[in-house]
Symmetry: none
Subunit: 220 residues, 2 copies
Amino acid sequence: MMLTAAEENYLKAIYHLSDEGRKSVSTNDIAAEMKTKPASVSDMLRKLAEKEVINYRKYYGVNITPEGKKLALQTIRKHRLWEVFLVDKLNFAWDEVHEVAEELEHIQSPLLIQRLDAFLNYPKFDPHGDPIPDEFGDVRARPRIALNEMEINQAGQIVAVKDSSAAFLRYMDKVGAYIGARVKILDKVEFDGSVEILVDQKKSIFMSKDVASNILAIQS
Amino acid sequence: MMLTAAEENYLKAIYHLSDEGRKSVSTNDIAAEMKTKPASVSDMLRKLAEKEVINYRKYYGVNITPEGKKLALQTIRKHRLWEVFLVDKLNFAWDEVHEVAEELEHIQSPLLIQRLDAFLNYPKFDPHGDPIPDEFGDVRARPRIALNEMEINQAGQIVAVKDSSAAFLRYMDKVGAYIGARVKILDKVEFDGSVEILVDQKKSIFMSKDVASNILAIQS
DNA sequence: AAATAAAATTAGATATATCTAAAAAATAAT
DNA sequence: ATTATTTTTTAGATATATCTAATTTTATTT
């Protein structure tokens, strides 16, 4: 099954939207995600349905098929491998890579991706902390680590808190930490285990070991 | 000035054909080079002329403009840098890189090319021995001579092949000739123009004039 | 349940890139 | 200098991907 670049982009969008717990994805949602018009989406859905990568019932939104999911994951794999390449090898900042990876992901060459994967030492996560599917589309469960257990200079993304009491969440809010925040360990104080972290590459915050051990991140 | 991938490919073809000593390049020549139909070429020439990258007088062929030449050289630069990447970093064989580089060359990101160039240590020649234009389009060309035109006992180094089809590259591989090989002309048969050459001071190989004329060397 | 609002689709355009078949222009041959 | 041949261009299709405007279908409100 061969998809055009546009089809790959739509399928990726549908995959991402499906992944947010919806039972089906609407035309308008896809249009918003793709920054395009609903009319264009309708046209494309017909094409994707013909290729059997989505199930499409007019006026009732779409579901991705197993074949579609496999293809979407392959595109995501390519995108994230290229992002690793751009950051690790070409010294791009991690917020500069998306647009270029968006182009590179459509290069059609299984051998290229296989070799790139090896060259990058089979990375499991991209620079944003998102997992890289393997060549079969399998995604590794994200190993979580408490902030106080991360090494200095290690970057990651906050994905959960152990203590989800209102008090703790208020604290999170107050210091500007939140689920999804990109973090980097700036310093660790040996004496008391407190840590200094950089949030979203701009805000530096201090927290006690106790607090840090309640915040879970995935490492980049 | 922004060109589409198709326009870049046509412009590159016109540049290459121009470089063969013609005063102007014909529609048929371009169609042959691009493996497309003359009618398609006519359409594209109109577009390229509108963008002022070629001078086009109907029925009389085209010339590339200075601006067109600059753009063609930029595309060639990207293509050849990617080829170096594929061979040096991803361990592609030098005869496997063309098709992939043909896709990669159309990625639009000046920063990417700048960084790639640095990562590859500013290479001056691609794996086929062809020079890589700098960012201003300047090319450091080496005077090259076909093996069948070298004198007996003349020594040199293979730097490029004219015909880089997979079939020819496989042949090269099979007989033990390769880009970078040291060669010396042992004998030339006047009757059919075939030549005998010594490769790397040990292996003697025999090749027809046809083959020899496709292999380019710099003379020592 | 009828009226209204929202969402989705179709109809009809535009732009790119290609093709075949027909026409026009340039070149070659008698 | 006509005629024939080759080359090139145009006219008209097809396919992709997008748009606006109009229409249809579904969902919501009264």
